[in-house]
Symmetry: C2
Subunit: 240 residues, 2 copies
């Protein structure tokens, strides 16, 4: 009676298509941007969209997402995590398409963009100046991704993935402020970082208009993944 995995005949049912879409975040001139591609063909020709594509039968979802990312930007070995799966019927006018969305954080200054055959253009947009009329439900996906990035920033070291290997505290602080949309207290922010033991002094200084800033790097053990760091409300818990 009920259709379940138990009595399924692989050829019996119509199947949806499955894509991965990747929201790619990067900093440009200290502002948070996302990478978008402009579509060439129906549906939503000329509209901007999040890069993505179909999942091959022999690759995992994450492999598919990394492949798309590399095709679009040439980057690999970056931080990436699964965001959410969007599957409302009708979100794609062609056929039922279920999209597994990922988001990636990249160090933009190290990257050059490449326009693929399938798009007119590739472009970075500041997250608060997105183009109008995005393709499909990509506006929703993007909002979802930005919300997630903000909330993860509050208790992880994710933001570090956006920075160059060596950076100053003022720069890190500006990034937190940019993403959170909120001013932070310098003294408290620095103290928090010092106490967290996440950073390592490189000894180098970076000249600017005023006093030069010390350059730091992340301690090796904590560079990857999302080691707990709360920019407020330090947490002691040892578990997890």
């Amino acid at each position: 009676m009920t259709e379940t995995a138990e009595n399924y005949d692989a050829t019996k049912y119509e199947r949806p298509s499955v894509t991965v879409d990747v929201v790619i975040f990067g900093l440009r001139s200290g502002r948070l941007h996302v990478l978008m591609v402009q579509r060439k063909h129906w549906p939503y020709a000329e509209h901007w969209a999040i890069p993505g594509g179909f999942v091959n039968m022999d690759e995992s979802l994450e492999m598919a997402a990394r492949r798309e990312l590399e095709e679009e930007t040439g980057v690999h070995d970056v931080y990436m995590e699964q965001l959410y799966t969007f599957g409302d019927p009708g979100r794609d006018p062609r056929t039922r398409v279920i999209s597994v969305a990922y988001f990636a954080l990249i160090r933009t200054e190290e990257q050059a963009l490449q326009v693929s055959d399938e798009s007119n253009d590739v472009c970075w947009f500041p997250v608060d100046e997105l183009p109008k009329d995005l393709a499909f439900d990509h506006e929703k996906i993007l909002r979802f991704a930005i919300d997630r990035l903000r909330s993860k920033l509050e208790y992880t070291t994710l933001a570090f993935q956006l920075l160059p290997k060596e950076f100053s505290l003022p720069k890190l602080k500006r990034i937190y402020e940019e993403i959170l949309g909120e001013q932070l207290d310098k003294a408290n922010f620095y103290r928090k970082l010092r106490d967290s033991d996440l950073l390592e002094d490189t000894g180098k200084l970076l000249n600017s208009r005023g006093r030069p800033a010390r350059l730091y790097r992340f301690r090796d053990s904590r560079i990857e993944g999302d080691f707990v760091f709360r920019y407020r409300e330090a947490k002691k818990k040892d578990e997890q």
Copy 2:
């Protein structure tokens, strides 16, 4: 060259199957349980599995998950959220199957189970006494769900979804302890709840062996969703 949504011919590629699997949590005698079904047919005949099934072409993912939940337990209108999408090739020996996993929290005392045609049996298992050799990658999905439930418990009111409408503070505390696997201080826990203004005194008392406990209910506005409540580290932030 690249395959993207832009030049896709809906009939051109082989498509994966898409299922939803639902991890159903409930309390039984104060312990956290998950609902599992015992499979009848190949593959993994006789093995225990998370209830799930194929997504119909005209229903959303969440609708599919709710349908599966209702078929398996008869419940509806419960808390449910998308967990993660598992899609490694080879996770199902029949064909490529991508599974969108959900988790649901139900008030078990209100429910009677019904065994579907496709399973030998349906059963609640305590989360720390799961059967061996679960079907597919369901062990992984289950661990994922338990971790997520634990971590969400620390900053949301999710646990309340497991409780009856009216309950005592000692009972709520025991549930937190059961799920977190950690003893909490009574005075601090009660104080936290009082200050949070989440609860409403029903005026009723519940008799037990010692002094009777006051019964509370959640304030209407906060019953649904996951209003912020940290069982430790109260947070003031007004945003979100």
